[in-house]
């Protein structure tokens, strides 16, 4: 019956009003993005002129973006971001999936205890744990290394929770059939459950990557060395060093940091919305 959905027609004035309001709010929402891109292609002389136009008289984009990429280790920041996000994601999937499977499909003493541990983990805001985690990384002597950026996120209680919810919707008979076919429990996790949970896997991957690409709080604590910084931290340092005098390259760098996720988002909007709200909606 979904073919009937929204068969209702709006009257013409209502339609116009709808578009008018949404275009206005949309424009306000986009203002910072537009301003950022606009400044990133202007020369300093135009930026500091008190008059505004969004399009520059003299296109200075190439100079600004070149400067952002060469004078600051921006490629390095981005590389760090990719590396850290990728390792975190792989480790989270490796650690969380078997645990989620066990919680969803096996019955054993201590399962409720395990699940309540996961729920407690889900309840804790990560920033609260930062002080002990900082001490821990100090004790392990990994401060100011990639390992320090990665280790607090090796496990994601949200990931366990999400996968468990999804695994629960897979019929038990699938597991029984796989066992009869001679698969080990571990093989069931990787070869049966995870492929079947592809939507959850994609949603979780987006959630994880977006979260860690954007994270500023923990990197600020964990690393001091510029060569280890992920993009948010790097760009903040860049901003503080430039002290706001060289707006063009700074805006170019910001644009470059924001861009990968935005492009991915526009390409796979539905998945992003699902990934970033999945936990909330379910």
């Amino acid at each position: 019956m979904s073919a009937f959905k929204s068969a209702r027609r709006l009257s013409l004035p209502t339609t116009i009003l709808r578009h008018a309001v949404l275009l206005c709010t949309g424009a306000l929402i986009l203002a910072p993005f537009v301003w950022m891109v606009s400044l990133s292609i202007k020369p300093a002389s135009e930026i500091f002129r008190v008059s505004f136009s969004f399009w520059p008289e003299r296109f200075y984009g190439i100079e600004n973006y070149t400067k952002a990429l060469t004078e600051v280790p921006l490629p390095r920041y981005m590389g760090n971001g990719v590396l850290v996000c990728a390792i975190i994601l792989v480790l989270q999937i490796l650690v969380c999936t078997p645990c989620a499977y066990v919680l969803a499909k096996l019955r054993f003493p201590g399962r409720d205890l395990l699940f309540s541990m996961v729920l407690i983990g889900l309840l804790l805001p990560h920033q609260v744990l930062s002080l002990p985690l900082f001490i821990l990384s100090y004790q392990l002597d990994i401060l100011n290394t990639y390992a320090a950026l990665i280790f607090p996120y090796v496990i994601s209680p949200f990931g366990i929770f999400l996968f468990r919810q999804f695994f629960k919707t897979i019929p038990d008979d699938v597991v029984h059939a796989a066992r009869l076919d001679g698969l080990s429990e571990l093989a069931i996790v990787w070869r049966i459950m995870l492929p079947m949970a592809l939507p959850a896997l994609i949603a979780f991957s987006i959630f994880s990557v977006v979260g860690h690409w954007n994270d500023l709080f923990w990197p600020l604590i964990a690393v001091r060395d510029q060569s280890l910084m992920p993009p948010p931290l790097g760009i903040m340092v860049f901003k503080n060093e430039e002290a706001g005098n060289d707006y063009g390259p700074l805006m170019a760098a910001s644009t470059l940091v924001v861009m990968p996720l935005i492009i991915a988002f526009l390409a796979a909007q539905k998945w992003f919305v699902e990934g970033m709200t999945g936990g909330a909606v379910k």
Partner: protein
């Protein structure tokens, strides 16, 4: 109360044609059922009647007044939905009162708080309450008025949905599979109640279902729809005994009617599966036709001979007084089902050879493309289809 007339309704969803020119008139006070398999367009037709969908072509008249382009509100129809569509946050009383409030109170009077202060509001609201109470009592749900739909059983919700439709005395009741969410026992009970309701209210009912039993027991007339086309509109018994179209014959009746291909040998004789049946057909020799034989048109025969089909038994279903015998016939690629009296066919076993006779007057004849061929006797000596046309 009103008559309904539907004329040449067409509806497409993109490239798929859901209704292909449906015309139908429904008399004042009639109970008409739209019957068809799911996806045949019957619900869409009902929604077009209600004004929830707009047809691409054709027009709808309610009480001889064209209602095309009118919103549902102005059509004087009420509808009972498959899901009941009760407002979950409102009490039963508010659910039933809503259609009256929307009609009798102005937009200002409906405002919360402010509306209540207006002079007429209290009087009208009191009137509405009285009517809701009366309707609820007549449906046996008077004691449930303060509850919310979530606290009701399926049958009670169904009654509330009917009550919401009844309360404002619409010209036409539209019902979209209203019983399909109930369990089998309740469904039979509610079926009787709806029938009783129709007799009591005397309104025009248009009822959509895919359940033959509902259609047969409730309706004055049944309209059979398949693939967006109206195939036949007739009284329930005629739909079964005298279908116009092969698809109607196949859709109605359980077990499904047996369809056997035959060739006219000579006047009065048709060759079917290696036997010659004495069936009166006004046709030239060699014409290809299809014979529709319902399972109960067969009877047990002790031995083969003219007018008897012979096959081997594949499966037997015991139905109490009857047996449903599935058997193979030479040259027929599907099993044929015969309903035989158990006492007349005592020792039938799987694998055994079976002889069944056929009552010629119960055989329905179709052209190979599915049109009904009426014999001259039935058709009042007027040949319906010149048989030469169908000769290959």
């Amino acid at each position: 109360m009103a008559s309904v007339s539907i004329d040449g309704i067409q509806k497409n969803y993109g490239p798929t044609s859901v209704l292909r020119g449906v015309s139908l008139s429904i008399a004042d006070g009639e109970f008409l059922t739209l019957l068809g398999p799911s996806g045949c367009g019957k619900s869409t037709l009902l929604r077009i009647l209600a004004g929830l969908e707009v047809q691409d072509a054709g027009s709808v008249l309610i009480d001889k007044r064209a209602v095309d382009g009118l919103r549902p509100k102005w059509r004087d129809v009420a509808m009972v939905f498959q899901s009941y569509a009760l407002y979950p946050h409102m009490t039963v009383a508010s659910n039933m009162a809503l259609p009256l409030r929307m009609r009798r109170l102005s937009a200002v009077q409906r405002l919360p708080l402010v509306g209540r202060l207006l002079p007429e509001t209290a009087r009208i609201t009191a009137e509405i309450d009285v009517e809701v109470m009366r309707t609820a009592k007549s449906l046996g749900i008077g004691h449930l008025l303060a509850r919310k739909p979530g606290q009701l059983s399926g049958g009670q919700r169904q009654r509330v949905a009917v009550g919401r439709a009844m309360v404002r005395h619409p010209a036409v009741f539209l019902m979209d599979e209203p019983l399909s969410n109930l369990d089998a026992k309740l469904r039979v009970q509610m079926r009787a109640e709806i029938k009783e309701l129709h007799q009591r209210l005397g309104g025009t009912f248009v009822y959509v279902t895919h359940d033959q039993a509902e259609a047969m027991t409730l309706s004055d007339r049944v309209a059979v729809m398949v693939d967006g086309e109206l195939l036949q509109v007739a009284a329930p018994q005629d739909i079964y005994v005298d279908p116009d179209d092969r698809r109607v014959a196949e859709f109605i009746g359980s077990p499904k009617i047996n369809m056997l291909d035959g060739v006219v040998r000579e006047r009065g004789v048709v060759d079917v599966a290696g036997s010659a049946l004495a069936i009166e057909v006004d046709a030239i020799a060699g014409a290809h036709i299809t014979l529709g034989i319902r399972s109960e048109a067969f009877h047990f025969a002790d031995h083969g001979g003219p007018g008897v089909l012979t096959g081997s038994v594949r499966m037997i279903e015991h139905m109490g007084s009857d047996l449903l015998v599935h058997f193979d016939l030479a040259g027929v690629d599907h099993l044929v089902i015969a309903r035989l009296l158990a006492e007349r066919a005592p020792h039938i076993a799987v694998g055994q050879t079976l002889h069944v006779g056929v009552r010629p007057d119960r055989v329905l004849l179709f052209t190979r493309d599915g049109r009904r061929l009426r014999r001259e006797v039935e058709a009042g000596r007027a040949s319906v289809t010149p048989i030469r046309e169908i000769a290959r």
